[in-house]
Symmetry: C2
């Protein structure tokens, strides 16, 4: 990493002149909320916080930073899970908020797409699409804060990836400011364009280390006209996978969600959530939440098709019990159980979380092997896996034994547990970051476990596009 130094007064004066009073602040109180990450794990410092109003202003600012050697830490809603938008503690970096650049530049209803600036909040994007009878098919817990720029930069996932893909699959065009202040502009969506490799792919998932995303053209899909939500109990994760294959075969592209949790997670949710009721009678080793959707063209037959799909699954002995939500409010109640798993786990006490993926077909075997391995290596812990089985992505949480000093446990045992989980995932051909990104949280683990050839490529491209290392230093590589 390049050594940085305190920005000069000359730089700060020029930046202030460039951005105006709304565009630059050095007020510690205003900056403070943005210096600690969402999970409260990292706190940094910054010489100032810039909030440019336009791509042109930002391009000028980046040129100024390049001339003065000032590192830039881009930030959207500050809702990342890996500390990717938090500066280091040197205080040398400029914190760059994209939140002022939140305009929707265009909605093309016919072509089903929307062009917006990086600071647009996901929730607002959802509402803008809905107002046109369309839908932006990506959602996640932090939707009230997460911005389009952050979602693109981290290739965000969520619970609709099974059908619609991660953010990468939804980005049709992109605009970004590069390390030298030049503007990469490919917002015009061309369905076919083979002028070399697809440069916008470099910006997606690079966590602001190769350029600063300023705007995107996003794919919209028809609104959901009808949905069927199903809760099923199965005897094993292997059985859940068999049920997944059955549903993929029967519902194909209409299958939008396939989430799993063990009985222990459901128990924790029922204890945590006032008034919550178990969807099925009796206990099941694993629970599955299935969502099948239809747009206007196929809505009429959806419920019948889902009932046939489940009847068929019963006949083939693919599940122990199932309930199809009888109403939209019951469907929402089913989803609330799923969405409450993480809060319920947090309420149980300190834990280390892992956002991991393995090939879908290996997930049952992986979980069945990893849970006892971790629990026996770390007596008193409880390991639970839940989440997006359809994507081969589970959240693997290891709950601490009753300890007196949670922070000390996290620092010592927690880190060692994480290394062991990551070793296991790597041995199974998986990823130590399925959807949350690397940021600063997993940077050392990526360096330790990443394929050396892939790491060399990441570093070579980083050096080629940001030779001075000023874009989000200390993140990713």
């Amino acid at each position: 990493m390049t050594a940085t130094r305190n920005p000069t007064q000359a730089f700060l004066d020029e930046a202030a002149a460039l951005l105006g009073p709304r565009g630059l602040t050095r007020d510690a109180d205003l900056i403070a909320p943005w210096l600690t990450d969402w999970r409260g794990r990292f706190t940094g410092r910054a010489c100032a916080m810039a909030s440019p109003a336009s791509t042109a202003e930002l391009a000028d600012l980046v040129r100024l930073c390049a001339a003065h050697g000032v590192p830039i830490v881009p930030q959207g809603g500050n809702s990342g899970m890996s500390g990717g938008a938090t500066p280091d503690t040197s205080g040398h970096a400029l914190l760059l908020s994209l939140r002022r650049m939140n305009a929707i530049r265009e909605i093309d209803v016919e072509s089903r797409r929307l062009t917006c600036e990086a600071g647009l909040v996901l929730q607002t994007l959802h509402e803008a699409a809905e107002a046109q009878g369309l839908r932006f098919p990506l959602t996640l817990g932090g939707k009230g804060s997460a911005t389009v720029g952050g979602l693109v930069s981290t290739n965000a996932g969520g619970s609709q990836v099974l059908r619609h893909g991660s953010m990468r699959a939804l980005v049709l065009g992109l605009e970004a400011v590069l390390a030298d202040g030049s503007v990469f502009s490919m917002l015009t969506p061309l369905k076919k364009d083979n002028r070399g490799f697809d440069l916008k792919q470099l910006m997606i998932g690079s966590e602001g280390t190769l350029g600063i995303v300023t705007a995107a053209t996003l794919r919209l899909v028809p609104a959901v006209a009808e949905r069927v939500v199903i809760w099923a109990g199965v005897p094993s994760l292997q059985a859940a996978r068999a049920l997944l294959l059955h549903c993929e075969d029967a519902a194909n592209a209409a299958l939008e969600g396939f989430e799993v949790m063990p009985q222990a997670c459901l128990d924790a949710v029922l204890a945590h959530l006032p008034g919550a009721r178990a969807p099925l009678d009796g206990a099941h080793r694993w629970h599955v939440l299935i969502e099948v959707v239809a747009d206007r063209a196929t809505a009429a037959t959806l419920r019948d098709r889902c009932e046939a799909m489940m009847a068929d699954a019963f006949e083939r002995d693919l599940l122990d019990d199932a309930a199809i939500a009888a109403s939209e409010s019951q469907a929402e109640a089913f989803w609330l159980l799923r969405e409450s798993v993480a809060p319920a786990e947090r309420a149980r006490g300190p834990a280390v979380q892992h956002d991991i993926s393995v090939p879908v077909e290996r997930m049952p075997e992986f979980v069945d092997a990893a849970v006892p391995r971790i629990e026996s290596a770390w007596p008193g812990t409880e390991a639970v896996a839940f989440g997006h089985l359809g994507d081969g992505n589970v959240h693997f949480h290891v709950i601490a034994p009753r300890v007196t000093d949670a922070a000390a446990w996290q620092e010592r045992d927690g880190k060692a547990i994480s290394r062991q989980v990551h070793d296991l995932v790597t041995a199974w051909g998986g990823s130590i970051s399925a959807e949350h990104g690397i940021g600063q949280l997993k940077r050392d683990e990526l360096a330790r476990l990443g394929d050396p050839v892939a790491l060399a490529m990441l570093r070579a491209v980083k050096h080629a596009l940001d030779p001075a290392g000023l874009l989000n230093p200390g993140k990713l590589v």
Copy 2:
């Protein structure tokens, strides 16, 4: 570009020892067929032709080339349209055939994917998928020659992109040999993986300039259980676009093809193809071929849905006339007309072809403006546009006036016409290469018309991953 020199005897001896008699030839008769591109526009020379049997052998060979400074020109089926697999005339380069590496390493029917080596021919891939009740949803004219490695390296398109995307959307995992002989190995398909930007995207569409694709894991989809093929006549390309929107709305994801051609193209096909019959009575300014498909889950209602879709289109006055193919043989006859447009145009005489795209919604306006512009600037020419309206991609052919010296016309007027077409496309926010790639055919045009920021990025990444410039020199950038 780095200056190259004739490979030394020492290099050739070492390569021969490494690859064995089947793996290296200097026999001019054996090499000759592979030194001229598919369209016969470029002929190069090579010091030898290497045909390694495995990724490990290829990695050793690339290390040897790197040590001796020998350029490498990778080649699959030699069916590219832009001269991207043809060496230059220096004779310094090693021609690298991937055709011996054609194994299917694995088919996973449950997970609907296939892992194969770069030399596998597309037709063979189709057959392997079909044998398992699945389908690889990308096809194109050269399917009997085109290989997976070439399809990946050029991000190939074809007539099913509307629904399934280009090759990029079908590549789940990739293996490639890099310029230093290291092996990039990401064949294991993870649906979610956010360990930095997606490195395999760099190999897709980079035409062998960043690495040599040796294997890929590809997405398969359920076999088509039922298809409905429709021929429609419409008064304008704008009307065709309105019909496209109607079909996208009514059929949504089931819409797999939407191809257009003017009456002149259909006339040329009917004159060229013995026994061919026009699908509709009377002439129409534009003709549309529509394909809607269904898998097992939705096959039963497909025909009814298509009939309703077309009845609705009639009522809304979206077309003049239409015929729904009554049988599979009639469906095939409709498609044969479409597939015969290019051969029929070739039979009419010399022409310059352009593979271009603009945003779908601008295509009617573009064609209506560009055709008279070109025809009036070049008296005696006839400009026709046909192809994948659903992708915003047409083949824009300009047929020569009756000339005595076709080659001279191509060289003088043809090149000037191409520059004018490319200027127009660029002014309309489009791409001078929608699906055929840049190769050596359009390299100068890309340098002339490409966005300087994008070109600088392409070059920076190229230099970072292939600093000596030995991978497919003279192509793309």
